[in-house]
Amino acid sequence: MTVKIEAKDLSKVYPSRNGPMCALRDFSLRVEEGEFVCIVGPSGCGKSTFLRILGGLLAPSSGEIKLFPRNEKAPLQNIVFQEYAIFPWKTVLDNVAFGLEMRGVPRKERRETAHDWIRKVGLAKFADAYPHQLSGGMKQRVSIARAFANDPEILLMDEPLGALDAQTRAILQGELVRLWEASRKTVVYITHSIEESVLLGDRIVLMTAHPGTYKTEYAVPFTRPRSFELTSAPEFARLSYAIWQELEVEVKRTMEKQS
C-alpha cells in the first residue's frame, strides 16, 4: 500500500471578533492510495476546513500536509463542493468540461470527455441546459461529473449530497458507489450522515466537537461491489449504531456549547 495523503498535526486558527477561533486542532490523518475515507463529525467540527486545506484553498496555521502525486501531468485533486458550486452561467456541458478547459485540453477532446461523463451520470438529454433548469439532484450530478471528468488522482468531497432530499440522496449514493468502484480513486468524503459513510467508505474517521480533532476510526468490513441494498443488512445497522453512540457524545457537546 502506498500513502497518498499524509496530514500531521494540522491546526487552523481564524481571527474572529472574540479573539482567535480554533477551527481544527492537531488533526492527523493518513490515507492510502485507492482508499475511500469518510470523515464524520458534528457540525462545526472543522471537517470542511480540513477538506479546504487538502484542496489547497486554505493554508493550515500549523502542521504539515502532504499529497503524493503519481502522475505529474494529471491533476492531483479536485473538490466536489457542498451544495451548488456549479456555474449558473455555463451549460451542463461547459460545467463538466470546466477543469479540462482550464488545463488547456483541446475543445473537441474535452467535449467528448464531458459528454461521456454526462452520459454516465444520466444527464445526456440536458447537456445544453443551464443549471437553473435542473433540479437539485441533477445539479449535484453535474458537480460530481465535473470532478470525475477532470480525472484527478484524489477526489475531495465536501458533503456533496448534504443539501438533497432523502430520496434523491439515496439514488445518488447508489450512483456514487457505482462510479467510484469503476475508478477506485483515492477519496476523502466529508459527511454528517453515518449511514452514508458506512455505505460508501472503506474507513470512517470520527471527529470530536469543536475545535475538531481525531477521535476514533472504524474499518468498514463490507465487500464490494456495494449497492443501496446493503443498508438493509443487520450488520449495517449494527455498525451505524455503534458509530452513532460515539458521535452522540460529540453532538451533545456541540449543542451544549451553542446554548
Binding site: 451544495e83 449558473p88 470546466f98 443551464y130 435542473l134 439532484g137
Partner: protein, 303 residues
Amino acid sequence: MNRSCWHIDSNTRDRLLSIGFPLLLLALWETAVRLQWLDGRFFPAPTAVAVALWELTVKGELLGKLWLLPGLIAAGDLSGARKVFAEGHLWVSLFRIFSGFFVGAVPGIILGVVMGMNRTIRVALDPVVSAVYVLPKIAILPLVMLVFGIGEVSKIVIVAIASFFLVLINTTVGVRDIEPIFLEAGKNYGANHRQMFRHIIIPAALPIIFSGLRLSLGTSLIVIIAAEFVAANYGLGYLIWFSWQTLLTENMFAGLVVIMILGALFTSGLQALERRLMPWQREELPTLVSADGADMGGTGAKA
C-alpha cells in the same frame, strides 16, 4: 346571452388593457381641450402635439435637414453632412449621451472590478466614491464648464461623470458579492488569473454590472437634458427650454414625447443586449423533468 363570445384569454385581455387604457386617457385629454375644460395654450391637445412633432421633423429641427444629405455627400462635402446632424436636436443629444456614457462606463467597469477584487483598494477609495456619488451630478456642471469650457466637451464630461460613478458602484458590489464558492471552484480546478476573470468574475458579476449600466443610461438622459436647459444651443433639452421661453407649448410637449420614446428604446435595447449576453438568465424556460424521477419537484421553470 352567449357567454363564449365574451371570453378572451387573459393574455389578449392584458394586451387590450395596456394599449386601450392609455388611448382612453389620450382621448379624454383631447376631448377636454376641445371642450375647453383644459387650456390648450398650456396643455395642447395630443393631435396638436402630433402636428408639432411632424412640423419639427419636416422643418429639419428635430433630425436636421436630412434631405440635404444626398447632395452634400455627392458633392463630397463631409463637413457639411456632419453639420446636418449637428443641427438636429435629437442627434445632438444622442451623441452627447452615448459618448459620455461610453467614456464613463468603460473605466467604471474596469475600476469596479479592481475595487471588487482588492479589499485594500476598495477600503481606500470607498469614502471618496461615496462622497462624490451622493452629489447630484448636475450640481457640478458649473465647475465642469469652468474646466472644459461651454462647448461640447463639458456636456460629454458631465454625462461621463454621472455614468462613471453609477457603473463603478454597481460593478464593485457585483464583483465583491460573488459567491466565494465559485471563486474556490475556479481556483481548485486550476484557473489562472486570466481564466478566473473570463470564466468566473465577469459572468458572475454581469447581472449587477448591467443594472448599473441601465441606471446610468437613464441618469445620462436626465443629466443631458438638464445641462441642455442651461448651456446649449442644440439638443432636446434646449428644444424644450426654448419652446417654453417662447410659449410654443406644442413643441415643448413634442420634445417630451421624443424623450419618452428615447427612454423606452434605451430600456428595451439594453434588455435585448442582456438576453443575448446572459442566456442563462432567460425567464421563459421549458419545464424539464428530472432524469431519475426521484426528484421531480421544483425543476426548472418559474411559472
